[in-house]
């Protein structure tokens, strides 16, 4: 993933939030984004995943394959009264679900490499999602994104709502993913140090309020 001269303002008359940010993320690694609360880490992730709307003014170049953003409210992306397997089927629904076609077959949505991953985390795909642990639900939410051939994951504090055991489970899952580039914001320095395999980017704000990456 390549970002070149990325600048951002909330609207035409607003001061620059970022100015000419440039960085590369090597494919298939876990990269970390550090910074204090309110410095703009989430804004950057939203821009990179193209989820900024309204009057925002963005310039520069973002060269990236298909990406997805996941935040700490992963339960919003799940239908909790249905099973893990059914949620995986729901993740394959098109923009306009057909009243004539059935859901995709379980064998189609649970590909072999996904099944092997789930066995490692003792996830029962036949019980309702509301009965799974927070970490297991986060893994489901990520799998639903990965089903759509997502190559880059932006994770905004994915473990903020999880205890240590579940947070470790989520990072173990991320480590086990092959060929997916991950940029993660996480305040748990222990986890970040243990699992980051790529770059450590640090976002800071200068005296004029301009955000910079180091």
């Amino acid at each position: 993933m390549k970002v070149k001269n990325l600048s951002f303002r909330y609207h035409k008359r607003a001061p620059y939030f970022f100015k000419e940010l440039s960085f590369n993320l090597e494919e298939g690694l876990i990269h970390a984004l550090h910074g204090k609360n309110g410095v703009g880490k989430s804004v950057l992730l939203h821009i990179l995943s193209k989820r900024i709307e309204g009057e925002a003014v963005i310039s520069g170049e973002i060269v990236a394959e298909k990406s997805a953003l996941m935040n700490q409210q992963f339960d919003q992306a799940l239908a909790c009264q249905f099973t893990f397997l059914e949620n995986m089927q729901f993740g394959c629904l098109g923009r306009f679900p057909s009243p004539f076609s059935c859901l995709k077959a379980p064998s189609y949505v649970m590909q072999d490499h996904f099944l092997k991953l789930l066995e490692k985390f003792y996830i029962d795909v036949t019980i309702p999602v509301c009965k799974l642990s927070g970490g297991q639900r986060q893994i489901l939410a990520l799998l639903m994104k990965l089903q759509r051939e997502t190559k880059i994951l932006f994770l905004d504090e994915p473990t903020a709502a999880l205890d240590e055991q579940n947070a470790t489970m989520v990072f173990e899952f991320l480590k086990a993913l092959k060929g997916v580039t991950i940029l993660v914001v996480c305040h748990d320095q222990g986890l970040i140090c243990r699992y980051t395999t790529g770059r450590h980017l640090r976002m800071e704000m200068d005296s004029e309020g301009l955000r910079q990456l180091k």
């Binding site: 339960d75 919003q76 992306a77 799940l78 239908a79 909790c80 009264q81 249905f82 059914e86 089927q89 729901f90 993740g91 629904l93 098109g94 923009r95 306009f96 679900p97 057909s98 009243p99 004539f100 076609s101 059935c102 859901l103 309702p128 939410a141 639903m144 759509r148």
Partner: protein, 273 residues
Amino acid sequence: MILPILHQALIALPLLMGAYITFSLLKLPDFSIESAYLFGAVMAYVAGDLPLPLIILSASLGGAMVGAIVSTLNQYLKLPFLLGAIITNGFFHGLTQYVLGTSMKSFHPALMFSEHFLFVLVGICLVGIVGISLRSQLGYSLAIYGNNPLFFQHHPTSGSYVTFFGVIVGHACAGIGGFLFALSNGFVDLTMNFGVILFCLTALILGKSLIRTNRPNILVPLVGLVAYFCVQQTLLHVGLNLKYFNSFQSLFILAALFCLSKKEKISLDHLGV
């Protein structure tokens, strides 16, 4: 006793199918289903001289029109669904009075066959169509929306499409229900929709108590409907005065919900269905 139960169940079947889609699956506070029920009957009255299939089509279009308006208010003007439904009810009350001219009109369209046969035919067709749709991608999408409306913000599926489709189909069914009711009574009446929501909630709660499933299932409204009229006929046989029946229904809903939440230790959603 069985024949009156079947007769009434067949008349109310389309209405309850519609209510199942909007109340139970989408979990919307869909009070505008009252208007869809009445306006379906009104549109059938307007098309009364046309062949029967066109009368049924008009009734469903009348209901669908109510559904389209309330969905538009909710999805595009961003009004809360309940507020949109109240506004829609007010609008269609006036429109109904304008179309009918008086508060009641006699309604005797020419039928090719007996009323009972028509009720059975409409019931079979609707059960078939709605039953198949509920097993489809769209049927599951309706249930997902009811479970978590925010789901669609995180996935490419259009939540507006799901809501529009569900509400319009649900209201179209209710419109056909209004037509069957008017046909059975021989008149279209401005007050024929009173108590419709209470009836729907009671029957759906009964259905949910007897068929325990979170998945879209046509058996929930079917079983709820038959159970409702069984209870009603039993009460009439033991001497309950029909004028107190609405009060009885309210108490029945309270008791059923209380028992369900105690037994299952579940927290009830805003409609209990």
